[in-house]
């Protein structure tokens, strides 16, 4: 891509934001006659926290699913590291370094926290079925290496005390944290968070915000998130895309967006013709 923006800049709090890593160009997504996303374009830069906000039904989750490759838009293209992305299966997306969490927690309830996070490393294990079954050679070695990586994440997210606890027994806020841990286990270069704070109390929100900032800061992970809580979005994000009825109505820094009349109307409710 010739028009790709490679200028990097340093934010007020000292983080370096790089060039564009992912670009959506004129994306339109339809489900039958319903237009979920209508001609939306925006980009995500290396190392930034990019939020997508909007009222209910604005098409935020659909947008996240387009980024994650789960939906293939009827029109428009997604460019990843400057290359046009072909329709892909979710596991192919995961191999490209994109990991996500879900709005409705999607963990294995009967498995321990540790095992759940280990599943995030599956695509990095290459030992064959035979070797896995015998627990020998490569399988054993891989388990040790991956366990070490997982333990570092457990330490990072401060969930040592629930390492062996079945996920089904955990409260909601901790489940969300485990889901984040599993996404991190894949060592993604882009992390997609679908409403990471939904249903949390103030304290849990503060913890989660801290972890999101720390992940971004420590690992340099690019983060795209959808969130309802405006306070959280404005505090966390470097840039915000605002959607309403499938259309993009604003895009810019939190301050730009806050003062955008279209955004104010969408949130305060103005009669639509």
């Amino acid at each position: 891509m010739n028009d790709m923006n490679h200028d990097s800049y340093v934010t007020a709090d000292g983080r370096t934001i790089g060039g564009v890593v992912m670009e959506m160009k004129n994306i339109t997504l339809r489900f039958g006659g319903v237009v979920a996303i209508q001609d939306i374009s925006f980009d995500i830069r290396q190392g930034e926290i990019r939020a997508i906000i909007g009222p209910n039904g604005a098409g935020k989750s659909s947008m996240l699913n387009v980024i994650s490759g789960f939906y293939n838009p009827q029109e428009g293209d997604v460019f990843y590291h400057g290359k046009k992305r072909k329709p892909m299966r979710p596991y192919q997306v995961a191999r490209q370094g994109i990991a996500r969490t879900f709005q409705n927690i999607a963990l294995f309830e009967g498995m321990s926290v540790l095992d759940n996070i280990m599943t995030g490393r599956l695509h990095q294990m290459k030992a064959g079925l035979f070797s896995q079954a015998l627990w020998a050679g490569r399988a054993n070695r891989e388990e040790v290496e991956n366990r070490e990586a997982v333990e570092k994440i457990i330490d990072f997210l401060e969930i040592q005390s629930i390492r062996k606890t079945p996920v089904g027994r955990l409260p909601y806020g901790l489940k969300k944290r485990v889901e984040l841990a599993r996404a991190l286990a894949a060592e993604p270069s882009i992390l997609l968070l679908d409403e990471p704070m939904a249903g949390m109390n103030v304290e849990e929100k503060e913890d989660m915000s801290r972890f999101i900032l720390d992940v971004n800061d420590e690992f340099g992970t690019t983060i795209a998130l959808i969130e309802h809580d405006m306070g959280v979005v404005m505090d966390l994000s470097d840039r915000v895309v605002v959607m309403d009825y499938g259309k993009k109505i604003g895009d810019g820094t939190p301050d730009d967006v806050r003062n955008n009349q279209a955004v104010i109307d969408a949130y305060l409710g103005v009669a639509h013709d």
Partner: protein, 657 residues
């Protein structure tokens, strides 16, 4: 009392002990810490290398002899190393409670004039940065966990491992200086300074010399026969004198291994994995472990419950005696051995206490039932009495002479004297040097002959020669007829019941005693649920007739037990009420450490005390409460005042006289 250093083979400082341990126990484990799910360990040789690297690092920062180095963090090998490294360069380590608020921290750091701070993580670093304006002598901070620290200005800030690297790089030029400084340490140089928690007024900095720490460690190690192969779990606050003595003094003296848990929340799991042989815990820790066991037993199958009940009953009968080496019949021993295989052994293992040879509890009174439960399992749990100013040990219970209501005999080389007022005084090699920058307090606590006032009232039991603590001396009073009034003695007996959270006894200068009682919402709420008793609030549950009935039974049982005590039989509870609200620190009724402020309570609820003494059967009252966000409100209630049966002992007393 002055001990020559010959008694300790010329080992007059912690760095000297470290050097001895390196040559004697080189490859034996000195420290372990669970990190990343695995127990990482350091041998004495490795630990010495780490400590020396940090000490060299301190020199590169320009640490002078006599400087104070504050250490703020949870129990991790790195902070124990920092304390010894500070001693190596002639500085004084000052461990600080890591959960102190910024202002409390500011007071402590300013009071000792710490030039350097070793802090655990961003949270602690931020706290110090917040208050550094007030710290005129503060110069440089070292942090352990680099997370979130990258963007900080590093001109007066170093990462722990980087400072060690810096020290290692300068080894050639600075090694000689370290050796010189260690050689200059004497038995009289300061080993450590610890701040007392400050329940009364501002915290005081207790200066302990090498003599205090090493002599006391040596004596207590010999008293209990502690060996090089002990394992301990270091989980109590590093700023507390007990942790310093167990994890530094005794560990360095005997050369045993200090194990640090992975995090505060994983302590019980880590305890089980390590299986310490020497263990200390305050009563609440034992209590919560027992509660866990009981709750899990409720969910067990019928057969297992039967097994548990049968053998626990047997353990209660003979377990303590077997532990004390008293004569027990053959059949009983056989049955106990069987119980050990089926119940006690596995249970102890689950609790992480399977390998405990010596266990201690202290800090507050422990319920006899709780105490006996652990001892009947064959865990050698004992009590000790001590304070920071004594370098912990004042009295200890010897093996085989353990009871729930005494604190044992004087520790080796400790002299004890009881004044006419009942106050306990002691003199020992562990008597602290001074309170830093506070000669007045030093003088009022310690006299010219080194006798120290404890502030506690107590007496020696004639039969056993054991010390019994009654109460804080300032709380002890007299009833109208001259008999002793010691509220804590009775309150503790009440608080041993799980459904009583707090109790406050009144009676100083009166002819009889009355009590306020707070129910424990968790325990009583559980009971209500099981008995289909509906309630909408704490107040409603506290006033429920069946709850009052239960509490009345407890009060009357306590009265019978108090009546048996010849000195304190006057403290029986004549009338009582169950309070309509929980005593709370936000309302000023308790300290932040959950100790009742008697004066405040007596003043605030004066109407209730008066009604109890007036003999009313009911009283209506309105109380102001403070909500968590600082708003004020009030609650009103009508409380039932109850009479409790007391045991008449006055007649006996007269007869005895």
């Amino acid at each position: 009392m002055v001990q020559s250093s010959q008694a300790t083979d010329g080992l007059v400082s912690i760095p000297a002990l470290l050097a001895r341990n390196v040559s004697k126990f080189a490859d034996k484990p000195a420290f372990r810490e669970k990190e990343f799910g695995i127990w990482q360990s350091w041998t004495w040789t490795e630990a010495h290398e780490e400590i020396e690297a940090l000490a060299l690092g301190f020199l590169t920062l320009g640490v002078n002899e006599g400087d104070f180095i504050a250490i703020i963090g949870r129990n991790r090998p790195y902070f124990y190393w920092a304390m010894v490294a500070a001693q190596m360069v002639g500085a004084v380590p000052v461990p600080v409670y890591k959960d102190s608020a910024a202002e409390e921290m500011a007071y402590v750091l300013a009071h000792c004039g710490a030039r350097f701070v070793v802090a655990e993580d961003q949270e602690q670093v931020d706290k110090v940065i917040d208050v550094q304006e007030e710290l005129s002598k503060f110069e440089h901070m070292i942090y352990l966990d680099p997370r979130g620290m990258r963007k900080y200005d590093h001109t007066a800030l170093n990462q722990y491992s980087k400072l060690q690297d810096q020290g290692r790089a300068a080894r050639n030029t600075l090694q000689g200086e370290i050796e010189k400084r260690v050689a200059r340490l004497s038995y009289d140089s300061t080993c450590v300074m610890l701040y007392t928690s400050g329940t009364t007024g501002k915290p005081k900095g207790v200066v302990l010399s090498n003599r205090n720490v090493i002599q006391t460690s040596k004596n207590s190690v010999e008293f209990d026969g502690l060996r090089q192969d002990e394992d301990i779990l270091a989980y109590l606050p590093m700023a507390w004198v007990g942790d310093f003595i167990f994890s530094v003094g005794q560990a360095m003296w005997s050369g045993f291994c200090v194990n640090c848990p992975e995090s505060e929340e994983t302590m019980l799991t880590d305890l089980r994995e390590i299986g310490p042989t020497y263990y200390f815990a305050p009563p609440p820790v034992f209590e919560s472990q027992l509660t866990n066991v009981m709750i899990r037993m409720e969910d067990a199958g019928k057969f297992k419950q039967w097994l548990f009940k049968t053998f626990m009953a047997h353990a209660k009968k003979v377990g303590g005696d077997i532990l004390d080496g008293k004569p027990v019949g053959g059949m009983d021993r056989l049955k106990y051995a069987l119980g050990n295989v089926l119940v006690y052994g596995p249970l102890k293992d689950t609790l992480g206490l399977g390998r405990v040879r010596v266990g201690y509890t202290a800090g507050e009174a422990i319920g006899p039932e709780l105490f006996d439960f652990y001892r009947s399992l064959g865990i050698n749990l004992k009590q000790l009495y001590g304070q920071t100013e004594a370098t912990v040990f004042i009295t200890l219970q010897p093996n085989g002479e353990v009871r729930a209501d005494t604190v044992g005999v004087p520790a080796p080389e400790v002299e004890i004297r009881i004044e006419d007022s009942g106050e306990i005084f002691y003199r020992s090699p562990g008597v602290f040097v001074e309170y830093l920058n506070n000669p007045d307090s030093t003088a009022s606590t310690k006299d010219s002959e080194n006798w120290v006032a404890t502030g506690d009232a107590g007496f020696f039991e004639e039969k056993s020669g054991h010390l019994r603590i009654i109460d804080r001396i300032k709380d002890v009073g007299k009833l109208a007829d001259g008999r002793m009034f010691a509220p804590k003695f009775v309150e503790n007996k009440l608080k041993f019941y799980p459904d009583i959270l707090e109790a406050v006894l009144f009676g100083n200068g009166k002819d009889r005693c009355v009590a306020f009682i707070n129910i424990d919402l968790t325990a009583v709420g559980n009971w209500a649920e099981r008995n289909n008793i509906a309630y909408a609030s704490y107040q409603e549950l506290a006033g429920h007739p069946r709850v009052l009935e239960t509490i009345q039974n407890h009060v009357e049982t306590v009265n019978r037990s108090v009546a048996e005590d010849p000195m304190l039989s006057g403290c029986q509870i004549d009338r009582f009420l169950v309070l309509h609200k929980e005593l709370d620190a936000d309302d000023g009724e308790m300290t932040r450490t959950k100790k009742v402020r008697r004066v405040v309570v007596a003043d605030k609820f004066k109407d209730l005390v008066d009604a109890l003494y007036a003999g009313d059967s009911e009283v209506s009252t309105t109380t102001e409460v403070t909500y968590e966000d600082g708003r004020k409100g009030s609650i009103s209630a009508t409380l039932e005042l109850r009479d409790a049966k007391t045991v008449q002992v006055a007649a006996q007393k007269v007869a005895a006289e």
